[in-house]
């Protein structure tokens, strides 16, 4: 039995929390999305709309599928089922509207490149094949560096930057993309307090200018302070909505209080060969 068919069978189960009322103007609209790594499902049946102009936190325990949600939305990992619409159209046709900040550990910081050259990568999508970097793009990259307070480090080799500074370079690269939606994978992971303040200031700026920002986040203490909208994940969407409404002890207990036995057992069974379910 294929993974897809099992997943389809579960689609009608009470796992789905959010009603399937999708708005065609939502910045990010995820429809019945299920993701599996090597046949082991890590995200079941995600179905939600992200509203415009919000700072959205994505929280959940380790292995809850937070990063996977972002990667699947960006077509970086294959989806078993479902689709993702950006302002009502498939992501493939709307790439320019989306900026991405991967996890800092995902790249080799020993790479022979300086800070401004990394930020310039945010402009590559606008340049097209084989086109060289123009002065205008360089200027835009320097401006992005300035916005994260790193203008003085433009020519610094990236391995000579602190972890917080490296994270700010990644943020600057996303800013250089001049997108309307920002996906960020743990931008606050192991950064110093000053960097965290600088980053949240930039994100708030983005939100206030009508951009939509989704952030994978780990620190529950700062959730209500940082985010006005929340997606609580644990292999499926436990709760989704304005932080004031969904960030409740009950939802937290359901998100963090042990993995859902049935789902994780079913996932294990699928990984073993799809016979046990």
């Amino acid at each position: 039995m294929s993974a897809a068919s099992i997943v389809d069978a579960s689609a009608g189960s009470p796992v789905s929390v959010i009603g399937p009322e999708h708005s065609p103007t939502a910045p990010v609209s995820i429809h019945d999305m299920t993701v599996a790594y090597h046949r082991k499902p890590v995200l079941w049946d995600v179905d939600l709309d992200v509203p415009q102009g919000r700072l959205v936190g994505i929280i959940g325990p380790n292995g809850a599928g937070k990063s996977t949600l972002i990667k699947a939305a960006l077509d970086l990992v294959p989806r078993v089922s479902g689709e993702v619409l950006i302002y009502g159209k498939p992501f493939r046709r709307q790439r320019r509207l989306v900026a991405y900040v991967p996890q800092r550990e995902s790249v080799d910081w020993d790479f022979p490149i300086c800070a401004v050259e990394v930020v310039m990568m945010g402009r590559y999508g606008m340049m097209g094949w084989c086109r060289p970097v123009t002065r205008a793009h360089r200027r835009a990259a320097l401006q992005a560096l300035d916005r994260v307070g790193m203008a003085d480090f433009a020519d610094r080799q990236i391995s000579n930057l602190s972890g917080g500074q490296q994270q700010r370079i990644f943020l600057a690269r996303a800013l250089a993309q001049e997108a309307r939606i920002y996906f960020m994978d743990e931008p606050f992971a192991s950064v110093d307090a000053a960097t965290e303040r600088a980053i949240i200031a930039v994100l708030t700026d983005l939100k206030n200018s009508g951009k939509t920002v989704l952030v994978v986040h780990h620190d529950l203490q700062t959730v209500s302070q940082y985010f006005d909208h929340l997606i609580m994940l644990n292999m499926r969407v436990v709760a989704h909505g304005p932080t004031a409404e969904v960030f409740t002890p009950e939802n937290l207990a359901r998100t963090y209080g042990g993995r859902l036995t049935l789902l994780s057992e079913a996932a294990e069974a699928l990984a073993r060969g799809g016979r046990a379910v």
């Binding site: 991405y100 995902s106 790249v107 790479f111 990568m121 996906f183």
Partner: protein, 474 residues
């Protein structure tokens, strides 16, 4: 560092030994070298041109290969060219053609090389087998099949398969002008593609998921990159051989990395080093008769790498050792300044002289090290000795000492208030960091440490100073 120097020396000896041996026979090695360098021999010219061009292409594409962390993939695919060579021979011979025609052999090599890359990608994407295991499997299966097919080819009644094994370790002398032309064509294509797609390859190698999110076809770029690696491998089979060609790809790039932090410099530098290694290797092996060209080229490239490892301006061992020495010197200097300052602080007087013995009891430093430090600080005018040999700070030294002690105490206070470290332990921890605190961090420390006297010219020490420190001569 010593070890690297030793390795370098060893490599030179290995490279030089056969040359010396050859020198004893006639004609002398110098005559030979002169003959080679004058490019009088047509054959020598062909070989030198061929391997230089090969080095150029290999160094260039090797830069991206190294940064993409696919060095072992290159090793696996170069071994995987062997069955292609054998198959090409068997098929062309069976069809009545000349099995030894180089074009078909190399096309066969290219075919199985590409197939190996495909299998590796397939394994990576569809199974949970780890990358290194996948590479090991592909390398051994393809190479084993190649070895078996070569034996099969040798048993064919038609055609003579003798000499097919020359592709394993390379035989540069068999190169002819047409081969060099082929190498030149591949080199030009590889360098042109690398230049045209420089931006795309840089992005691919640095951050493939960001590239994917931006819509760049990661798989296609990867295929293009590895396709060029296969092409360079194939043109290197004749001269360097499939076992060693990976060294031509990796070593110049690894050496170039030690000289620069910029990809735009590393790329041409690696290409130049590859060309230099190829040319020098060809010259050496031509001058010293009966030396195999391929291994000599690889040794020359390794010597270039070893030299870069020691002398490289960006991350060479020498540069790092010098930097480390500077830091150690600064640390020792600051320790002495702080010891003298704290003595005067404990005595409650600005002007304090200390005997050598008392100063020595302040820290666990050897008499020799302390004497050296004192004379160094004297030369800088921060410390003076009086007639009895007692030590005291000069005015300038006092200013410097104040700065050092202040940094030390700020850091100590930060550790106590923000990192929950016991006051009795902070001294040693602060010792490690204070010497490298940059000015902007000190400013932030001042902001962070909320103790009332943090902004004072000199905050009090958060722990007791060593009791002996009061001892000075009246």
């Amino acid at each position: 560092m010593k070890r690297a120097a030793l390795i370098f020396g060893l490599l030179l000896t290995i490279a030089a030994a056969p040359a010396e041996a050859a020198a004893q026979s006639q004609p002398s090695i110098l005559d030979n070298l002169q003959r080679v360098l004058s490019l009088r021999d047509y054959n020598t010219r062909v070989v030198i041109a061929g391997v230089s061009l090969l080095g150029l292409a290999a160094g260039g594409i090797g830069t991206f290969l190294l940064l993409r962390k696919r060095s072992l993939t290159a090793d696996a695919l170069s071994h995987a060219t062997l069955p292609g060579i054998a198959l090409a021979f068997i098929i062309t011979t069976a069809l009545g053609g000349d099995g030894r025609a180089l074009v078909w052999l190399l096309l066969g090599a290219f075919g199985t090389g590409v197939a190996a890359v495909g299998v590796i990608i397939l394994i990576r994407h569809t199974t949970r087998i780890k990358e290194d295991a996948a590479l090991g499997i592909v390398l051994s299966v393809f190479f084993g099949a190649g070895a078996a097919l070569i034996k099969l080819a040798e048993q064919m009644p038609q055609g003579s398969a003798a000499g097919l094994d020359r592709f394993i370790l390379g035989r540069a002398a068999s190169m002819i002008a047409a081969d060099v032309q082929a190498i030149a064509v591949v080199t030009v294509i590889v360098l042109a593609v690398c230049t045209a797609f420089f931006k795309e390859f840089r992005l691919l190698c640095f951050d493939q998921s960001f590239a994917g999110a931006q819509g760049w076809p990661v798989l296609l770029l990867d295929a293009l990159l590895m396709g060029m690696v296969v092409a360079v491998t194939v043109i290197g089979l004749q001269s360097v051989g499939l076992v060693l060609v990976v060294a031509m790809l990796i070593t110049p790039a690894a050496a170039a990395r030690l000289w620069t932090d910029r990809l735009s410099i590393m790329f041409p530098l690696a290409a130049a080093m590859g060309a230099l290694g190829g040319a020098a290797g060809a010259v050496v092996s031509a001058a010293a008769e009966r030396m195999p060209t391929g291994p000599i080229i690889v040794l020359v490239c390794s010597a270039l790498f070893a030299a870069s490892l020691v002398f490289g301006s960006k991350r060479g061992l020498l540069v790092r050792a010098v930097r480390h020495m500077h830091l150690r010197r600064r640390v020792a200097e600051q320790h002495l300044l702080r010891a003298l300052w704290e003595m005067s602080e404990n005595a409650g007087r600005v002007e304090v002289r200390s005997t050598f013995a008392r100063l020595k009891s302040q820290r666990s430093w050897s008499a020799l090290a302390l004497r050296r430090e004192i004379s160094r600080l004297r030369r800088r005018g921060w410390v003076r000795l009086d007639a009895q040999g007692d030590i005291s700070l000069t005015n300038q030294g006092r200013i410097e000492a104040q700065r050092v002690v202040r940094n030390h105490r700020l850091w100590e206070m930060y550790l106590i208030t923000h990192a929950d470290i016991a006051p009795t332990h902070v001294d040693r921890d602060a010792d490690q960091i204070e010497h490298v605190l940059p000015p902007d961090l000190i400013e932030r420390l001042e902001g962070l440490v909320e103790a009332s006297d943090a902004r004072a010219a000199m905050p009090a020490s958060p722990h007791e100073l060593p009791a002996l420190a009061t001892g000075d001569r009246p």
